[in-house]
Symmetry: C2
DNA sequence: ATGGTTCTGTACTGGGTTGTCAATAACGGC
DNA sequence: GCCGTTATTGACAACCCAGTACAGAACCAT
């Protein structure tokens, strides 16, 4: 028995995320968020508790999308596991993949992992942000490690290799391409880096 | 026949760099820089042309130190090349090494490559910063690639591998550890990632 | 010693920022 | 149709910030 809100919180948080990604946290003002989302300052404070609240909730939404997409893209039968890993790696170096069809962003710097950007910018002084970013990484790490295990079961990756170590390494490469991409390197260069990493994965020794 | 400046520009730029690394560019005010360096606003504007000038010049100083240290740490006879690469990799994942003895920083997030942090935060809207950051990367890439070639000549790395590709990959891993370190992962974890990357370097096939 | 020149510190200004508040509008149960 | 409840809007005050201007201090050549 009250007035319902006239906006979709998810849509608003997504627009705010885009703004944070392009301008950074400290480079984004509340007015910027207001313009990007169409909400007035009052609504922003009432619904999301101001700038910092918007950041935390938009990161949470990002986390949720990531936790839904990545396992779906990587899980599956053992036979195709290595190929799924390959495809994920190639997609990831061109921006964090969050949906099956939509390309992440035209500008590679803004396509960098949202969690990574925020962690590097303000993670040192904002433990909440740091924790959220780490959660994002963890959900990816377990999904990748599981895919590596599947590839090992299928005889495509050396069974003696530690799947968790490999997953961490691959994700570190992906996060590294966020940085290298921000330097302005071409997509072709990023693809080449991803292919090199993939090619170095330890293959099983033929007896 | 005029009053000489009472400060050491290099020392000032270094202090400013520390400030930028810990607070980011937009998170650092001119007063912060003033407090960190001891200089008044007037001197800052006269000597470095304000906040943006301080950033550019401190990045240039960082670039100069990097361009001096990295080649020195990686160059040398072919016999020890692989071991030098190993040592550099291990040092690098704990923060950009800029001198032989000094550890980079107690806080891993602030130890991340200065150029990388700035490129991710404001590189999209500041092409000068982007260019400087890319220069930093280039000087490292050529030094690492040269070391890879030396290791290849010594028979420690597969001669069929492309040394430039390997160099890009290794540097991407290092930049990735900057991000993973900012998430709060332990130094042991970062070391483990570096060791995994090193272990996957392609060894020459024994005939 | 003195004057010209450059550094240094501080005060000031115009603009931008955040967070809050009160007035208004919209909705649904009754 | 009315009323309580909640969203929305716009404005407002306190504050912070970048950049400038000016006055004073330090130096060196003469």
């Amino acid at each position: 028995m009250a007035r319902p809100r006239s906006f979709d919180p998810d849509h608003v948080l997504h627009a705010a995320e885009r703004q944070f990604r392009t301008s950074g946290y400290n480079g984004t003002s509340v007015d910027d968020i207001s313009a990007a989302t169409g909400l007035g300052r009052g609504s922003l404070y009432a619904a999301f508790d101001g700038k910092h609240g918007v950041l935390l909730q938009s990161m949470a939404g990002y986390f949720a999308r990531l936790g839904q997409f990545a396992p779906k893209a990587l899980a599956g039968p053992d036979e195709g596991a290595l190929e799924r890993l390959h495809a994920y790696l190639l997609r990831a170096v061109h921006g964090v993949p969050l949906a099956a069809d939509v390309p992440p962003a035209p500008d590679r710097a803004a396509a960098a992992c949202f969690a990574a950007k925020m962690a590097l910018e303000i993670g040192a002084s904002d433990s909440e942000v740091k924790r959220l970013a780490n959660d994002c990484f963890s959900v990816l790490a377990t999904a990748v490690a599981e895919c590596v295990r599947a590839a090992q079961r299928n005889g495509d990756i050396d069974p003696d290799a530690d799947p968790d170590d490999l997953a961490y390494l691959l994700l570190t490469v992906i996060r590294g391409t966020d940085v290298v991409g921000a330097y302005g390197h071409s997509p072709a260069r990023l693809t080449s880096i991803a292919e090199s990493a993939f090619a170095l994965l330890p293959r099983p020794r033929h007896h």
